[in-house]
Amino acid sequence: MILLYLAAGLFLGWTLGGNDAANIFGSAVGSRMVRFRDAALVGSIFVVLGAVFQGRGGAETLNSLGRVDAMAGAFIVSLSAALVVYYMNSRGLPVSTSQAIVGGILGWVFFNKLTPDYGVLFKIVSTWITGPLLGMLFAASLYKALKKILLHSHIHLVELDTWIRFSLIVVGAFGAYSLGANNIANVMGVFAPMAPDVLVHFGLFSIDGVQLLFLVGGLAIATGIYTNSRRVMETVGNGLLALSPEAAIVVVLSQALVMFLFSWSGLAHWLQSMGLPSLPLVPVSSTQLVVGSILGIGLVKGTREINTRLLAGIGAGWILTPIAAGLTAYILLFVAMNVFNLPVLSAVSSAAGEVAQAKNTGTLRIDFILPGVIAISGTIIALLVWAFLKTKQKQLKAENELLLQQNINLESEKELDELNLKNMHAANQELSERIEIMNREFGSLALGLTGQKIFFEEISSQLDKLGQTQLTKEQEVALNEIRSLLQQKMSFDKEKDTFYLNAEQTNKAFYERLEKNFPGLSQQDKRLALLIRIGLSNKEIATMLNITLKSVEVFRYRLKKKMGLEQQHSLNDFIKNL
């Protein structure tokens, strides 16, 4: 039954872990300087240590506000606070667990028609203002100091990055310790009066019943950190102010300092012994401290960057949280008492400050030295193995990523090569088309020459006929001159030279291939092949080579033979595809 009642506290611890741990590591994780799992591991360890070794002061203060001395009452106070925190968390609103639990206790006090200790209440409420103010002051001074140090440190930016990571982890650990020390009272404080009276010895140290209770609460917070803090981390880390990693260190350090001061009983006792006003040992809201710290930095930097809308939302949450928790507690207490008939107030008077049952029946002592030593040794060995495996895994991951990167580079190079190949194909295509066009032009030229030759032959035959008639001596001389000129013209030597020069130049590659593959070809054969490639007909070829049509056929036959082609193969196709 006790475990069932404690479940509410554990639930509250879980929500606190989800919400308040984000105040410590939210900026670091949000700025991607620290990985979530590292933050969760460090946060969990130190929050438990803080809760166990320095959590007592805050719990005593809460109990002096209203000593919830019945298990069912404590359960309901804790549950109502947890429900409110969980609801506001799920809406993405930063919420204070401290205010929720105070609201719950006040709900219990008013339900039982008791009078709260207004002095303690004032002390607690005043910390809701002094806490953030102190956080603001610390943050402003620390930020200025850090900036000054960084300005004169001349540390290389990359090295600075590593130092900042290191610092974020260290101050995060301190922050988690302070959170555990200060806020465990919110989680388990109401159950403290009902803690078992035991003392467990671990050799080097021992813990009592209240600390055992706080250990369980700390573990609940750690679970909350692991399972429920990512989303809120984003709200706190990135929503309010875009924090630089340096600012993140300052925010965490200043809130950790304030929480530490408000839970350090040694300092409070020392100040009291010196006759100085001491700081109250009160659970303070880490959310409020973060907001105060960020405001402090904002004041140093100039407030332009602050998201005032979100700030207003947080402010509204501060007022709503204790009221909502108080009302929820009141309603749940009413239901518990009237429906389930559960005692929410002990029969013994619950006046504040009155010690409940005398605990002088003798403390149960448990020696846990050997199991403790075994557990610690086991933990150390497990940590060493884990660290070794982690390093190996990291190395493999880095190598893998490097290979992936190289693969990407290779892929890019391959794509580039393909692109170049495509370009080359396109250029080749263009060149082929140009050659084709020029060859067609050569064909037309050859056709023109053939036409002209036919025309000149016709004139020549007419002149021959004219020569057979009776002519004067002068007329015969003139006719012979015309015939001679015509014969010269009909050879088309000049045109042919130009034609061959251009055609060979255009089909240079073809010519080279021809010479390479068939070194035995004569000049006449090569010209014939060129003319076939250009696409001339036999008649045109005859004109170009100044031979008869029959001779062209003979030349083609010989060329085919020299090229080693079978009867059925087409010489034209072969040459065009060469």
Binding site: S31, V34, H154, V158, E159, R165, L402, Q405
Partner: protein, 215 residues
């Protein structure tokens, strides 16, 4: 969780990279001077050296990129830093391309323009040289970056002015040159001038990055 090993390696890579860029722009200046003086062999040596410096710088840039991303270093700044490194690499790349163009196209530069071309190269290279202390300062003393960059802007402006004057001289006064030669000269003036423009672009980026670090 954190280690200084990768940080130290990254610092060494950055320093080595900056050294390569520094050497590269000096070699470019020497290359142009040798070209103008007609020292063909020394010009070719410069070209070879610059080419190998550029390849080394590319390799260092890739290594740095790998280490910054695989080791998750400076998650908020690495994007900016890689952009800056790419801008610097671009300067070296431009210097190499320009010197290659001298080698391939062998521009005819009339003797009366030699002094101007020398001066233009000097100004462009000075703009790039002045950038380097700013880049180095960014990593250690970001507050000093601004005062180190004003020279870059000055040299860039002067290079612009001189380039304009050369182009005007070529097209308006040197009537004995063929139009093709004039065009060629205009392109080479532009090639040399682009170095200072690239330095200015890097300086702009650096100013913003430094400002982001100091606020």
């Amino acid at each position: 969780m954190f280690t200084f090993r990768h940080a130290k390696k990254s610092i060494a890579l950055i320093d080595e990279f900056l050294g390569k860029v520094d050497q590269g722009i000096l070699i470019f200046k020497e290359g142009v001077t040798n070209y103008l003086s007609g020292n063909q062999q020394r010009f070719l040596d410069n070209l070879q050296t610059l080419s190998s410096l550029e390849s080394d710088a590319d390799l260092l840039r890739r290594k740095l990129e790998n280490i910054l991303y695989t080791q998750s270093l400076m998650p908020q700044l690495r994007g900016d830093i890689m952009r800056l490194i790419e801008e610097l690499d671009n300067i070296l790349d431009l210097a190499k391309k320009n010197l290659y163009q001298f080698d391939v196209e062998v521009p005819f530069i009339p003797v009366e323009l030699h002094a101007d071309m020398h001066q233009l190269t000097h100004l462009s290279v000075s703009a790039c040289e002045s950038l380097m202390p700013g880049v180095r300062a960014f990593f250690r003393e970001p507050q000093d970056v601004k005062e180190k960059l004003h020279r870059v802007y000055l040299f860039e402006k002067e290079a612009d002015k001189l380039a304009d004057s050369i182009k005007r001289k070529v097209f308006q006064e040197m009537t004995h040159l063929k139009l093709s030669e004039k065009f060629h000269l205009r392109y080479f003036t532009l090639h040399i001038e682009t170095l200072s423009d690239a330095a200015e672009r890097a300086a702009d980026l650096l100013s913003i990055m430094a400002l982001k670090r100091t606020i």
